[in-house]
Symmetry: C2
Subunit: 296 residues, 2 copies
Amino acid sequence: MRVVRTVEQLREAALFMRGAGQGPVGLVPTMGYLHDGHASLLRRAGEICGTVVMSIFVNPIQFGPNEDYEAYPRDERRDLELAEREGADIVFIPAVEEMYPREIRSKIVVSSLTTRLCGASRPGHFDGVTTVVAKLFNMVQPDYAFFGLKDAQQVAVLRQMVDDLNMNVKIVPCPIVREADGLALSSRNVYLSAEERQQALVLSRSLREAHSAVEEGRVATTDEVRELLKSVISSSPLADIDYAEILTFPQLEPLEGNFPLVEAEGEIIMALAVRFGRTRLIDNLIFTPKEVAALV
Amino acid sequence: MRVVRTVEQLREAALFMRGAGQGPVGLVPTMGYLHDGHASLLRRAGEICGTVVMSIFVNPIQFGPNEDYEAYPRDERRDLELAEREGADIVFIPAVEEMYPREIRSKIVVSSLTTRLCGASRPGHFDGVTTVVAKLFNMVQPDYAFFGLKDAQQVAVLRQMVDDLNMNVKIVPCPIVREADGLALSSRNVYLSAEERQQALVLSRSLREAHSAVEEGRVATTDEVRELLKSVISSSPLADIDYAEILTFPQLEPLEGNFPLVEAEGEIIMALAVRFGRTRLIDNLIFTPKEVAALV
């Protein structure tokens, strides 16, 4: 495994691996403080690609002024151990000045998809994500790029960008990885107190219960599902709901409150963002109501 | 010369030429209705590149709602003759539905540089330019891309985009090509009546006179140069000035009104946009005042 810290080294290393004719190049962009979710991305990349590049960069331009950019957890030594163990060939760890040698004036802005969910709560967040991901794509020129579906909106936004701008890369979404008790893995879980950690289980539990209730026909409409999600989450006194939404996926378009979910064409996402103290957690479940209906 | 009309054909053709090992690939993006200015871009591309790709596409998203998108002149047969004569290897002529198969939601937005000059007069114009150029870059993956300096702000904006987003292409700016009497070549010149055509000479004349006046020390400050430009242009009764500006190049930052130009570091642009009837013409002159000062 090769660790590179400059764009020039990265280009050289990626070019060399491509020249070695080892098959497609895969990119796994991360903000570090790696966990099993990231490991699953590396493993998936290893299945498809001959060369796996991982980037580790806490990207300042995707954080709002009152967000946790400074506090975001970092542990380079441990990250490099995990990357090596999970088969990364090249790890790119740039300094902020390497990624942004001067004030960046060019942004990639995806409209519509970014107005809801995390886009509404975190203005400018997705512009920062699309811009840094486009930069990484241009540096590495990967054939495939791997992203976790915990950030489902991010996956939808990046796919839109790639399609709209004819980028030469295929976005590969990978399933959410969870703790044994259901909590979705996140680098931000480290912020949680023991009590918050326990109560945070309401996220995954509310999603499972809402999904079962739809499957069993106990709830039918968007409004009913949303109310069920909110009532389960509210059973945790520490939970402060940012959003609990039911939208089409990957278009992220809202459904009428009285719309019967089983009539939806294609996939539906139930998406949550909930604060526990100063920690904001997200989780989601994507499913196809038609399949549920066919089973009933 | 190969004429292609779909993105897939274009990718195949460019890939084939690259595989043939003929050296760098050059792209000349145009809106067609080609003239000697475009021909000079093709010739410059032929000097540097083994394969020259020209695109001809009147890009709807860079026109404002009250601009001349519909009326913009088109003549495919003549364009193809010129492209062949000037050595293009591949000409890409897509339909609008090929470039925008669905509503485009992703835009590349360059700030600061786009707030002045044509950016102020044509809101959204440069977002449309950067977005379509990025799409073409992703389709062709050129090593070099050639743009005329008549659109000097466009060159500055595209360079900013390429640098900020780490795009793998070098922007090559090419000198303005003029008629014998000084009028800068433009596809829009065809809109001009005989009388407008004659009076439009004030653009290049005002730039030449202002440049001489600075060289000879007859005018010194930004305000004086701007006044000189405006007074020469106003000698034409049909001229309606949109802007006449003196800025740094390529940063496009304004200079104080009482700033003595000979003290400027680097290059200065005198940039004009003037309407004649319904036709808006632009022209500019880029020079280095220090060089002028050294001659005095």
